[in-house]
Every structure is written in structure tokens, then in C-alpha cells.
Subunit: 358 residues, 2 copies
DNA sequence: TTGTAGGCGTTATCAG
DNA sequence: CTGATAACGCCTACAA
């Protein structure tokens, strides 16, 4: 430990003389000066282990004390610039109001924290142009990985441009993974929506339902289209006529409005099969407002797995959301290109459907 | 425009020879080289207007073309390091599953985008230590501003440490604002929870309710405590006995569980006054599951303003969430220390309460 | 109208 | 065991 430099020379260009100026963030250099060591040494102490460059206990203590005293926080910006990537994992969600994405994000967060990353999420708002803006920002900030949580809308203005940008980013080394079907070349960890939906449709038929209406979706949204497809083919297989309604959204409002409209009509179906928990809750709201008995008059089921569905004791195929998030981080953190297999969904029987009668 | 440098010298230290190496992100220097100009000129063109340093149309076109061709994306990291702050506005939410925070975040996002910022949110999970981690990360990444969306829990382990860190950050120049009561020295833009709750309580009494149960909260959570306080004092003023239950959460599960317990008891109250929309939806789920008529048997109201409440046509004090978010950005973007006034809440009468009988 | 050079805070490479 | 020094990619006085 060499003798401390004089205070005057410690921060030559910082106005330590200007009495009323507010203190700015302490830099590594400030810590080094206070501790009376070089920035190199300070860096080594504060970075933790560096086997090839041991530091004496006294110096270590001095640096630690100085850092503590100054409230030193390393600049993630400088570190990211130097190392070519930051400690951020970015999540692009399709709808910040839908807890489905919240559950995925929580899974990502937990795994991220364990791996030393910080998760930040940005709202794509189901708009390719906003997704592109957010994706760019995350990438430009050197995110170690970027996770897309929902699918894209085929043919929507901006979808192609987003795909080009993402593909380019991937070529240039950014780790990108999607937890829903997407039209770009990223890794994808996706539960089989078609099979899942077919399974749930079969279950409803098994409970005696025949007139099953599929609720919700957005034309071109891959995940939604796949669910409709699974429903349709199962209905046809059983000789039943599929009926899809409410293709104007994946949220509670979409579900409520279309179910309310149907309830105002002449006949009520046996069951509503909702594309996700949000539309299902919307459907429940419509039924509740109309005083319709569930599952006496009509059954409801959905494809989801959020807490909101369980609150209403909804019969639902529950997707393993937390696990999907964990796998996304596993892919990002792993430097190989092995893509983890998607976990499987499970059927949870609630009180919104009848017992099986067979 | 000077003659192009030879390709060999353009990227001396980059292995343009290694045929199989993947292309990395283009830098400003690469653009300049391709366009045959200096980085300064390239910077000027790509940064947009700089009146004192005009650029000739040909050079401008060459640079633009080069940037386009290379897919150039400026490094936000380098820019942030140079300029001392980034274009990020960080939002710390208390519960990523609660759309209340989603609505606030959307307000922030919209205003941010208009002001040229990018909004990223991080989940504090109602845990001061996680909030601290997220806050530090955002700050270290040079966030232009950090917005807290929910209150802190007085006395919880970590709350004091968070406050110290936030206060220090503020002293050191970080713009911090809270949209809920907090125990640190940041700007706060907060709707009057006490008055709001008192107003709603009075409304319920006006509809004829006498046995009004307040549902939900977390002891020490300022916003929740204030709502309880407004309820309590109004009840006392009218000679009624307050009854607060479910102080173990602000989410749907908390609301559902406590209401289910009450419904299992001997008597049913006249009304449930829920601390937020989430507990109200939980209460509705419990009532729905139990087949209780609303508002025939019991009324429900809440303090919120999310879409979820409107779906169920809930009587609620609606907080101006989007507007609060907008004001937060206004504060962050403004370099003065003027704190915008909080907007007022409005009462929305839905079908979950009876008509006024007076 | 365009270019040169220095530095933002950190880490890595090389000397001592 | 410890230090000086050179980048990382960008912006911006200051030249020319």
C-alpha cells in the first residue's frame, strides 16, 4: 500500500472545490484514490476472485472500506462496453396487462437472478413495430439475451421487418429465444398448442358437451391459430361442428363481449373453450353478469395456467409457465446451441365443467 | 468524400480474413469506412441535425447507405457511457402479475416513447431486497429516471437499506419518482388514498350498507394502511363499526380466501370494500363459487381502476393510472425539481352495488 | 464542409 | 503481489 495521494490531485478535473455542487457517483478511480492503490488493484478486489492476481489482506480491506464509504457502484455501462455484453436479460411481452406473460417473466427472473443476470421487461403490445423498438433498445444496450414471450402476427405490418432485424441480430451473436411460435430463426421453446387444444376439446366432449364454442384469438397469431386448429380437427373427428368466435382479441374484454353477445341470442352452447385464461375470465364475467349457471347451464374451460384461472377454479390446460421461463434462461446462459425441449402441459379439472359422464 | 480506404486497412484488428467467423455488430467506424468518411462525419449524419456542422448531400447519402447496408445500430452502451446517462426509464413494480402496475407502466411507456426514452420494467415483488437489486441495476445502467409504482412496507427487513440507497442515488443526481407513498426522499406523485377510501365508504353507506367489511392489505404497506384509515374514520363518523380482514395480501388469492371464509360463517355483511381491484376480483370469485347474489345479497366495491374491475362492472374508485404514469415521465424528463400535482380519482358506479336509497 | 484527438469507467494485458 | 496502459464505441471540442 503506497501513501495516499493528496486530495488535490485525487480528482483533478472534478470540482471538489465547488462547495455547493452535488456529489456525483463514485468511480473505481475514486475508490482507488481513497484506498491509496491503483485502479487495477481496486478492480481486482471488487471483482471478487482472480486466482492469478492475489491481493494482500490489508489492501483488500482498504479497498473494501473505501468502496463502502463512498457508496461505490460499478458502472454497468462501462462494464458492458468493455466486455461486449451486459448483465441484462430482456423480455419482450405481448401484453403487459396479461398475467400469463407475468408468470413467464417471473420464471425468467428467478432463473436469471440465480445465474447473475438482471431481468428487465418491455411491452411489445402485440404491435410488431413496438416489438422492434424494444428489441433494438435491448440489443443496443448489450443484453445478454432477449426472450420473446408471445407469438407474432403473420402478415401484420412490421412483422417482416422485425423478423429481419431479429435474424440479423442472431447472426451477429445476440442470444434470442422465443416461448411462442415466431416467424424468425431464433431458438423456440414452445408447448404444442395444437395437441394441447385437441386434448382439452376431447375432454369437454367426454363430459358430454357437444355444442362447444371456441372463444378468442387473433387471425394470424400463430399460438392462437394452432389452438383453433387443434379444436377444429378434434371436433370434426367426433362428427361435431366447430364454431369459433371472438377473433378480435386475447384479453378479458374480447372474451366478455363475445360471450355476452352469444348469451343474448336464442340458444346457449354446452361449453365455451377459451383460447386463454384472460378470455375465460371475460367469459365468466359475462356469464356472471347474465346470471347464467356454470357449469349447470354452460361449461367453461381454457388454455392457460395463470393464478387468475385457478381463482375461479377453472378447468384448464395449465402450461408450465415458470418452467418455460427457466428454460429460456438456460438457453441464453448456455453457450452451446442446444435448445431445451419444451415441457408438457397438464389438465386441471375445476368446477367450471361437469364431471365426465362416461 | 475522400477515396475509400482499402478493405485490408478498414478493420485492421477484425478478422475479415477468418471466413467462418460470424459477423459482429457494425460500429460507427465500419460505417465510416464503407462510406469513405471519418467517424465524425458519420456520427453527424446519423445523429441527425447539427446546425453548426452541415454535411454535403452526397456524403450524407453515402453514410446513410452504408449504415443501412451494414445494419448499423449505435451502441446504447457506448453512448450512455459517453453522455453519463442512457435513454432508459426504469419502472420498479411491486407485483408483475397485478395489472394495476401494468396500467401505470403503460402510461409511463407512452409518455416515455414520446420523449425519446425506452421504458423497461423490473419486478420488485414486494420485497425490499429485490427492489434494491433492481434499483441498483437500473441505476448502474445509467437510467435517465427510475419510477417506483407501489409503496414500501414500513419496518420490513431491507426497507431501510433500500431507502438509504435511493436517497444516496437522488443526491448523486438520479431522477427518482414514486407513484405511491414511500419512505425515501424522492418526488412522489400520489393520489390521496385516505380521502379516496373515505369517499367510497361514504358512498356505500349512502346505498344503505351498514355492515361493511374492508378486504385486503399488508400491514405497514402505506397505501393500504391509508385506505384502511380512510375507511375506519368514515365508519366511526357514521357510528358504524369497522371490520378489516385479509391483511395478508393485495392479490386475488388473498381476496378470495378471506371472503370464502367469511361466507362460511354465520352472517354475511352488507358489503365488501376491497383495497384494490385484484382483491375484489378474488372476492367475486369466492361469491361466484358460493352462488351468492351480487348485489342482492352483498355489494362489492374497490379502489382501483384496472380493466379487470370494469369487466365485472365493479363499483370502484378509479385511479387515473395512465395519467400518473405520464406525470412520472414529465417529472423525470423535466430538469427542474417541480413535482406535478397528483390528479384526482373518480367514482365509477357499476352493478356490484345497489342504487342509492336516499 | 470535414477530420483529429481525447476521454467517459471499466477490464485485460503486460511489466515490474 | 501491484501498476501503468491500452482498448471497448461513441461524442465533441478544437482544428483545418
Amino acid at each position: 500500500m503506497r501513501p495516499s495521494r493528496s486530495g488535490t490531485f485525487a480528482k483533478p478535473w472534478r470540482s471538489s472545490t465547488g462547495s455547493s455542487s452535488r456529489p456525483s457517483m463514485a468511480r473505481l478511480r475514486d475508490v482507488a484514490d481513497v484506498a491509496g492503490v491503483s485502479v487495477t488493484t481496486a478492480s481486482r478486489v471488487l471483482n471478487g476472485a482472480d486466482a492469478s492476481h492475489p491481493v494482500s489482506p490489508e489492501v483488500r480491506a482498504a479497498v473494501t472500506a473505501a468502496a463502502e464509504q463512498l457508496g461505490y457502484r460499478p458502472s454497468a455501462t462501462a462494464r458492458a462496453l468493455k466486455q461486449g455484453r451486459s448483465d441484462l436479460i430482456g423480455v419482450i411481452v405481448s401484453d403487459i396487462l396479461d398475467p400469463y406473460f407475468g408468470e413467464l417473466t417471473r420464471g425468467i427472473e428467478i432463473a436469471s437472478a440465480a445465474a447473475g443476470f438482471v431481468t428487465v421487461s418491455a411491452n411489445g403490445n402485440r404491435d410488431p413495430e413496438q416489438e422492434l423498438t424494444r428489441f433494438r433498445a435491448l440489443r443496443q444496450h448489450g443484453a445478454a439475451g432477449i426472450v420473446f414471450c408471445g407469438s407474432d402476427i403473420d402478415g401484420a405490418p412490421g412483422t417482416a421487418a422485425l423478423a429481419r432485424e431479429v435474424n440479423r441480430a442472431i447472426r451477429e451473436g445476440t442470444r434470442v429465444v422465443s416461448l411462442a411460435p415466431r416467424g424468425f430463426t431464433s431458438a423456440q421453446i414452445v408447448v404444442d398448442n395444437t395437441a394441447t387444444s385437441a386434448h382439452l376439446t376431447a375432454h369437454l366432449i367426454g363430459t358430454g358437451a357437444r355444442d362447444i364454442v371456441f372463444v378468442g384469438g387473433i387471425p394470424g397469431l400463430a399460438a392462437a391459430d394452432e389452438r383453433i386448429s387443434g379444436y377444429r380437427s378434434t371436433m370434426y373427428e367426433r362428427g361435431l361442428k366447430p364454431h369459433v368466435v371472438g377473433l378480435d382479441g386475447m384479453n378479458q374484454t374480447a372474451g366478455r363481449d363475445v360471450v355476452a353477445t352469444i348469451l343474448a341470442g336464442a340458444t346457449t352452447p354446452d361449453a365455451f373453450l377459451c383460447t386463454n385464461d384472460e378470455t375465460a375470465v371475460g367469459a365468466i364475467a359475462a356469464l356472471w353478469n347474465a346470471g347464467v349457471d356454470v357449469p349447470g347451464d354452460v361449461a367453461i374451460a381454457s388454455i392457460g395456467g395463470t393464478a387468475g384461472g385457478r381463482i375461479f377454479d377453472l378447468t384448464a390446460v395449465e402450461l408450465p409457465l415458470g418452467e418455460l421461463g427457466r428454460l429460456a434462461v438456460e438457453y441464453v446462459a448456455d453457450d452451446t446451441d442446444r435448445v431445451p425441449d419444451a415441457p408438457v402441459a397438464t389438465l386441471r379439472i375445476g368446477r367450471t365443467t361437469r364431471e365426465r359422464t362416461d
